[in-house]
């Protein structure tokens, strides 16, 4: 029964491929989402009841332990929300059945490969699944079929493939260093950690960090991330940001534990902190002049991944803070991206300078936009406040005050940069910028102008820019409202079972 979490999408893909009907596509996505959620929860309950260290699936290759259950639950919850949103998102667009089917198949495969990454207990196997995520999501990024989408997809596939090839070099170097341990299962590696030659382990960590760091979006190797997130359809951006980055991070985390067991963690910590700080710095620099709100959110993802990397490196309380941050970031960022999808539907532009008065145009979207900002900025009811505060506390406890100061300053700059744009977009009057007069059909002759619009924009009648708002179904608000409410609850008082999950995950990482 539980193995079906990996078999279901493959069968569903086959069926969808041969039938090609939009209704069935939507149904399959939602069915898999619910199924995924049910299975994850049942795995969680089973784990609690049996109190065993790991529940095995498919022999030794996949299992659930106290670390990856957190990641699995996040994936399930986010995917459930996105699947519902997705149905409403594609309601008013005239996509062909074929394109919609391929899109759904790609999403199913994408989720399948992420689930595989999270559950796998073997370093090489998780490598294979991470590569599979790249291939599955390439079509999703290219989905809009504009020049920009093509460029983003090319960069994504190419940069990530090279990154992942480097990660494979890391795996080979590790297997040179392991000597007589002829296994790449994490548990075998942990047990025999003392036998690994430190030189090869250090070398391999560098390659692994750069390789999987490319997928995770850490700074010097983040180049694909803003492009891909801004050009993909909004549900896909939400999935990329809230789940894909996490699953790459899980592998780094497992490898980091190996470094701790061999007492090389000082080396790993230096690398993680420098990449994390660089991520924060790059976000702080770029977020100011950005004129594309989806790119802005993508940079914010880079920032948050940097915070998580720093949290792991600080250690102790920092690891707990990083896990909490991971959970909260996934909830808030996915709803942020989905709301960005609403805005894109209403205004049909991605430029910040051409949008104002979201609140007047569409109240719920505007308030969601502001609520998401409050969440991502870490203003008190947000759980990110809690995690960032704990992280600062951990830094000060460990006498890393310069780090804490730089961290706080960079965060403040980023919040200012994002807040400026969000407030500008939310308030004020609706202005009609350029090009499209109200009531006129959008037939853009000029190729350049056409490129500035999203693909959806070209298809839909343009009245919405001026007056009556596009009809938005409840499905385009509900997932965000649920996510935001959940994160609000997290921020005010973390329910004990969630606290336990986070705590166990943090304990699984640190060896002391």
């Amino acid at each position: 029964m539980i193995e079906a979490i990996l078999i279901f999408p493959l069968i569903a893909c086959l069926i969808l491929f041969f039938i090609k009907s939009k209704k069935l596509n939507d149904f399959a996505l939602i069915a898999y989402a619910i199924f995924h959620l049910v299975i994850s929860i049942s795995l969680y309950l089973k784990k609690i009841n049996l109190e065993t260290s790991a529940t095995k699936l498919f022999g030794p290759y996949f299992s659930v332990d106290s670390l990856n259950i957190l990641f699995l639950l996040i994936l399930s919850v986010i995917f459930a929300g996105v699947a519902f949103y997705n149905k409403s998102y594609f309601k008013n667009t005239d996509r062909s059945d074929k394109a919609h089917t391929y899109y759904s198949i790609a999403i199913l495969l994408f989720i399948f490969s992420m689930t595989g990454t999270i559950l796998s207990t073997n370093l090489a196997l998780s490598w294979v699944f991470i590569e599979a995520t790249t291939l599955a999501s390439a079509y999703l990024i290219y989905f809009n079929k504009t020049k920009h989408a093509l460029e983003a997809a090319w960069k994504y596939v190419f940069i990530c493939s090279i990154g992942i090839a480097l990660a494979f070099v890391g795996i080979i170097l590790l297997s040179i260093g392991t000597g007589s341990i002829n296994s790449l299962f994490f548990n075998d590696l942990y047990i025999n950690a003392g036998k690994i030659v430190p030189f090869w382990l250090k070398l391999s960590f560098v390659f692994i960090l750069v390789g999987f760091g490319t997928k995770m979006g850490l700074a010097p190797v983040h180049a694909w991330l803003p492009d891909a997130h801004s050009e993909a359809p909004s549900p896909v951006s939400a999935l990329l940001s809230a789940t894909l980055l996490n699953s790459a991070f899980l592998i780094i985390l497992r490898f980091y534990k190996l470094m701790e067991l061999t007492h090389l963690d000082y080396f790993a910590k230096i690398l993680l902190v420098s990449m994390g700080l660089l991520s924060l710095f790059i976000t702080a620099v770029f977020v100011f002049n950005i004129n594309n709100y989806k790119r802005m959110l993508a940079y914010s993802s880079i920032e948050n991944m940097g915070i998580i990397a720093i949290g792991i490196a600080v250690g102790g309380l920092g690891i707990y803070a990083a896990m909490l941050h991971l959970l909260a970031h996934s909830l808030i960022k996915s709803s942020f991206f989905l709301t960005a999808g609403n805005i894109l539907k209403q205004f049909k532009v991605k430029k910040i300078s051409e949008i104002s008065g979201i609140l007047k145009q569409d109240k719920p979207t505007g308030w969601l936009w502001i609520a998401c900002f409050v969440g991502i900025a870490g203003i008190p009811p947000s759980p990110l406040f809690l995690s960032e505060f704990l992280l600062l506390k951990a830094m000060i406890e460990r006498d890393q005050i310069p780090l804490a100061i730089i961290f706080a300053i960079l965060l403040t700059i980023i919040i200012f940069g994002i807040g400026k744009s969000v407030i500008k977009m939310s308030f004020g009057d609706i202005k009609i910028f350029n090009k499209i007069a109200p009531g006129q059909n959008v037939i853009l002759s000029d190729q350049r102008e056409r490129e500035n619009l999203s693909d959806d924009a070209i298809w839909i009648d343009s009245h919405a820019t001026a007056s009556p708002p596009l009809r938005m179904t409840i499905g385009m608000y509900a997932p965000q409202i649920v996510f935001i409410t959940a994160s609000l609850i997290l921020g005010i008082c973390i329910p004990s079972f969630i606290n336990q999950i986070i705590n166990n995950a943090a304990l699984a990482v640190s060896i002391t």
């Binding site: 090489a124 196997l125 490598w127 294979v128 590569e131 599979a132 790249t134 291939l135 390439a138 290219y142 020049k147 920009h148 093509l150 460029e151 983003a152 997809a153 090319w154 960069k155 596939v157 190419f158 493939s161 090279i162 992942i164 090839a165 494979f168 070099v169 080979i172 297997s175 040179i176 260093g177 000597g179 002829n182 790449l184 030659v197 030189f199 090869w200 803003p226 492009d227 801004s230 050009e231 770029f286 002049n289 950005i290 004129n291 790119r295 430029k351 300078s353 490129e451």
Partner: protein, 216 residues
């Protein structure tokens, strides 16, 4: 014999760095695949038959025949035959590639603790192959050359995995094969799309996505 083949493998990288004709690049890829197959055939112990058969299929069929054929088809379809004006002239990139290869040979002279699990010459040449292909990717301008650079890098990684005294589990090599295969096909597909969407297959065309457009 095997050592000579490995040196030959290193020399193909130098030829790659020196020439700008894409046809020659593809030919070299095919030769590299053949060399890898020969190395495998001469060097691998024949105890694990399934693994051997599998790896021979990977090198001989996929690396030597299928991928070069596919690339040639893309080449003929898109009519890009030369990688003109690389960022660094071919002569200098030849010099730099030679230095990298030399460094690889120097590495293979290292004998220290921890090197007992690895064949030194394989290790040195494969590391320099990976470095040279990354270098070529950054200096060349045509998109097709980038794909070729990526496959060369994969060849280098394959040689590196041969250098490990014990073999990788079969599931890993299967995964690797599948990944390379699909990645190359996706990249090839994108190359075709880029050719129809943009006028030229130049990497300079792909610079529209920026963080701040200053002219608005």
């Amino acid at each position: 014999m095997v050592n000579m083949l490995i040196v030959l493998f290193g020399l193909t990288m130098l030829y790659m760095a020196a020439t700008s004709r894409i046809k020659a690049h593809i030919k070299m890829l095919s030769i590299q695949g053949l060399i890898l197959f020969l190395i495998l055939f001469l060097d691998e112990d024949k105890t694990n038959l399934i693994n051997l058969i599998f790896l021979s299929i990977e090198t001989l069929l996929v690396k030597t025949i299928l991928i070069p054929l596919f690339l040639t088809r893309i080449l003929n379809k898109n009519e890009v035959f030369r990688d003109n004006e690389p960022h660094i002239p071919n002569f200098y990139s030849l010099v730099i590639a030679s230095i990298m290869l030399f460094a690889g040979f120097m590495i293979s002279n290292l004998h220290g603790q921890g090197f007992e699990n690895v064949t030194a010459l394989y290790f040195g040449v494969s590391i320099s192959t990976i470095l040279i292909s990354l270098f070529l990717i950054t200096t060349r301008k045509k998109i097709l050359t980038h794909v070729i650079g990526y496959i060369m890098m994969e060849n280098g990684i394959f040689l590196l995995s041969l250098s490990v005294a014990k073999e990788m589990p079969i599931i890993v090599s299967m995964g690797v094969l599948l990944d390379i295969f699909i990645a190359v096909f996706i990249l090839g597909f994108l190359v075709n799309k880029i050719n129809t969407a943009f006028d030229e297959l130049n990497i300079c065309e792909l610079c529209n996505l920026k963080d701040c457009d200053c002219n608005d």
